[in-house]
């Protein structure tokens, strides 16, 4: 949260990118909102496992401040996360300029494959991508296409996918399914497309085959998760 000397200052500063549902409130009101368990519990190791409850608390606290909060849209989607393997090592070996050029090419290819397989880019951070697809098989195929297309550049990526209901708020995807996909991607090996059992079950019969990668605990997510590597 950013602080301003008055609402006029905040509105002037945020004039060009403020979303309709951004909030400007007196500091004393924010203090009430921040007592919600959402914020306290973000210090907890397993806070993601209670993400839905936190969002509910947050929305209730905002509502108490007289702020209306539109209900989120929930849709079934397959989330795809990608990440370059050993990007720090590549950067050190190549130098800033060459790395920047390589990263630009990487971004072009990833975006091209997302578009080709009718996905939607949600966000990027460093050398990571987050995209959603309305078809699990196309999401898996997009991941394999990215790996294949990036190979000649000497870039290996790890990819993780999960299918579940996501929230669309302000055009952005969020929700527990997003966290699960992100966690799965961190467990993928170089050049691997690692998926949850949910993904596997939704694309049975598609011609994509699976190799069992065992059960795993995903940080902040309750339960054990059966994961599979896909073979196109």
């Amino acid at each position: 949260m950013n602080l301003f000397r008055s609402e006029e200052h905040a509105r002037r500063w945020s004039l060009y990118y403020r979303a309709d549902d951004d909030y400007i409130m007196p500091v004393s009101d924010w203090a009430t909102v921040f007592t919600a368990s959402l914020f306290k519990n973000r210090l907890d190791e397993d806070y993601l496992s209670h993400a839905d409850a936190y969002v509910r608390d947050y929305r209730q606290a905002l509502k108490a401040m007289g702020k209306t909060v539109p209900p989120p849209d929930r849709i079934l989607s397959t989330v795809l996360f990608t990440d370059i393997v050993d990007s720090t090592g590549l950067l050190s070996a190549m130098g800033d300029k060459a790395w920047s050029q390589l990263l630009d090419r990487h971004n072009e290819i990833v975006r091209s494959e997302i578009e080709r397989w009718r996905g939607q880019e949600v966000s990027t951070a460093g050398d990571s991508f987050f995209a959603t697809f309305d078809g699990s098989a196309r999401a898996v195929q997009a991941a394999h296409s990215m790996i294949e297309a990036l190979g000649p550049l000497g870039i290996e990526i790890r990819t993780g996918l999960h299918t579940g209901e996501i929230e669309i708020v302000d055009g952005k995807a969020a929700g527990t399914a997003v966290h699960i996909g992100a966690r799965i991607s961190t467990l993928a090996g170089p050049g691997e497309v690692l998926v949850s059992r949910t993904v596997k079950e939704t694309i049975t019969g598609s011609g994509i085959t699976f190799e069992d990668r065992g059960t795993h605990h995903l940080k902040g997510i309750p339960g054990e998760w059966q994961l599979y590597a896909t073979v196109p």
Partner: protein
């Protein structure tokens, strides 16, 4: 921050992002002791989901 320092008074001294003039907030546990100037506001690019997506996806 209040939960990181229970039962201790915390003072936040910062500057307005718009004009650069100082802002001071003193708090203890869940109570705001002082806001100077009193007109000070917080701006939160909401919804929470936006930041939640970022923190979970890339941490």
């Amino acid at each position: 921050m209040r939960w990181l320092f229970p039962d201790r008074e915390i003072t936040v001294e910062t500057r307005c992002l718009d004009c650069g003039e100082p802002i001071r907030v003193r708090t203890r546990n869940d109570e705001i002791i002082e806001v100077n100037p009193e007109s000070a506001v917080g701006y939160q690019p909401s919804p929470f989901a936006r930041s939640r997506t970022g923190s979970a996806a890339f941490n």
